[in-house]
Amino acid sequence: MVTRIAVVGLGKMGLSHLSIARAIDGVDVVGLCDSASYLRSVIGKYTGTETFGDYSKMLDRQAPDGVIVATPTRLHAPMVREALERGIAVFCEKPFCLTAAQSTEMVALAEAHGLVTQVGYHNRFVGTFAEVKRLLDLRAIGDVTHGLAEAYGPVVLKHQHGTWRSSKNEGGGALYDYAAHPLNLINWYLGRPDGVGGTVLHSVFSDETDDEVSSTMLFPDRATVQLSVNWSDESVRKMTTRISLWGTSGRITADRQEIRVYLRGGAELPEGYVRGWNVRDTTELTPPVQFYLRGEEYSAQLEQFAANVEVGRLGGTNDMASALVTDQCIELLMEDNRRAGFFGLTDSPMPLEPKARRSWYRPGRSHGRGENG
């Protein structure tokens, strides 16, 4: 059986998905769609894939089994809706939709049609981060009491403007582009928070969007998680996501390469783990993939999507319902930032007025979020 896949949006992520999808077994890429005619011309001519400038026409003409949506985020909801209404499975880039309301609508639509869905939170396919999930499910560190969720990288290093990523209406900003990743991992590990507090969305260089995010998330059973995100950090070579969790029986720190686990013992130790420090890395934790492009996780997520579409298996890792939780968290953070609750030494509210702290979210105005990555 061959799964027939179409791709819309030939940006960085779209091209990467196209390359992987074409290379893995059991997938046939039957259509590409982008608004830029020069791109369609080049890709169509040199890869021999049929290209379209009109998304609806592509879906009607090619009738794919699944579509990969890798367009700017404001286009996610309308494009996902069109596909689902035609009975087509959807892989959508992260973050999922502009608002949690839209995400909720998509989840309901997919459920009504019984369709396979997936969102591109690729970190859940990284061996080390998956190992954290496995250890938590085994209760290896007992009850989680505290966490630190971090992401740093060198994206916006100077004053800039110009693309949809720097526009609040289309959805740029470190919250959407960067913070979504550690948030999504925390949702995987601890579920949905009861609330958030002390959120500050800071601009460092950007005119309209945030470059730094900090917040405290409060989970059921009283666990707290600090969120610390900065995409204006030149000191790291590329995006670095790190999760640390403290529990009653130990602690875990994980990044893409390595997981370090301290276990107090007492409770049953997971197989292969000892009391005290345990260090395991990606070379032993990452299963091989058929085709490697930028990391096993990018291939593994598409392998799962294609396999699920082929047999109609619902609810795999990163279905839209799970991505909705992350969208809800993003909205909570924006709202908390807007309210700007803060206790100072004096009784006057906030040494940092919302305007002074260059917050970009305003209620009642449309706001977006960044795609991809």
Binding site: G11, A23, V155, T163
Partner: protein, 287 residues
């Protein structure tokens, strides 16, 4: 003929597939350019002659250094690997696809076509973009010896997956014609790439890929790699032979030296002692 052992540059730029903490330490260790050139001088003194390096902006300083010291290091040569992908990836994030192109290849016919919204792009336009990008990356090596010029795996494998074979031909032709060098291709998908390059008429290409005992990042599987090496339709360079430190050095080198038809081994190290150890092992198991 390539050297049996080639020195790599991951350690200099914080690339470590094993540990982000280790990568950060190495960035600090090699922050000063003298730390990099100093280790390269030591590598030369113990017999290494070839430095395989990305076109990271700091390499320009290395090239300058060894130009000045050419009397003492006359046989020092470079294998440039291009592009330094993060530079382009960040540019696309900042400026979008067209903006990035405008930044890096301001004078190409392709860009004109793109802005005019022309729906047909010719091979000449594609050639124009690729050759301009290659020439821009090669600027820092002006006056240096570059016998092999590599296409980095992110680009090789992106094109491989997409089926954009024409770009391989353009790269191959341009590197031979303009630089009198051998084109090389780095990949994480050796069996697939070797078959593809042979299929489009690029005979006996130089291909660099992970080749290690545990099959780490050897997509297609270790058996397919060994079968490809047996067929020998390309010149093999092995990298990541230690699988980022997952295999003990002696075991790693003895295994890789048993594999057929591997012309060169590229490795990185951050001390003279580690360089010497690896060289000794290669010598021991190659005879």
């Amino acid at each position: 003929m390539m050297d049996r052992v080639v020195f790599g540059d991951n350690q200099f730029f914080g690339v470590n597939h094993h540990s982000e903490a280790k990568a950060a330490e190495q960035l600090i260790q090699f922050q000063r350019i003298e730390a990099i050139t100093g280790l390269l001088e030591q590598a030369y003194d113990v017999g290494l002659r070839t430095f395989m390096c990305t076109t990271h902006e700091r390499i320009a300083e290395v090239v300058e250094h060894f130009k000045i010291e050419s009397a003492r290091y006359p046989e020092f040569v470079y294998y440039p690997c291009m592009p330094y992908a993060h530079k382009y990836a960040n540019a696309v994030t900042e400026d979008g696809m067209l903006g990035a192109l405008r930044r890096f290849v301001p004078a190409s016919g392709f860009l004109d076509a793109a802005f005019r919204g022309v729906a047909s792009v010719t091979r000449k336009d594609i050639e124009g973009v690729i050759t301009l990008l290659v020439d821009a990356e090669m600027k820092m090596f002006a006056g240096a010896t570059t016998p092999v010029i590599w296409l980095q795996n992110v680009v090789t494998d992106l094109l491989l997956g997409m089926g954009f074979d024409e770009a391989f031909r353009v790269f191959d032709e341009h590197v031979r014609k303009r630089y009198g060098a051998e084109p090389g291709f780095i990949t994480m998908n050796l069996p697939m790439l070797a078959a593809r390059l042979n299929g489009i008429g690029i005979d006996n290409p130089i291909i660099c890929s992970n080749i290690n005992k545990i099959g780490f990042r050897m997509s297609g599987g270790i058996e397919a790699y060994q079968a490809a090496l047996e067929r020998h339709s390309f010149r093999a360079v092995a990298m990541s032979v230690f699988a980022s430190g997952a295999i003990p050095a002696d075991e790693a080198i003895s295994w890789v030296c048993e594999q057929p038809n591997i012309e060169s081994i590229v490795f990185g190290a951050s001390s003279r002692r580690n360089i010497v150890n690896t060289l000794d092992l290669v010598l021991k198991y190659s005879s």
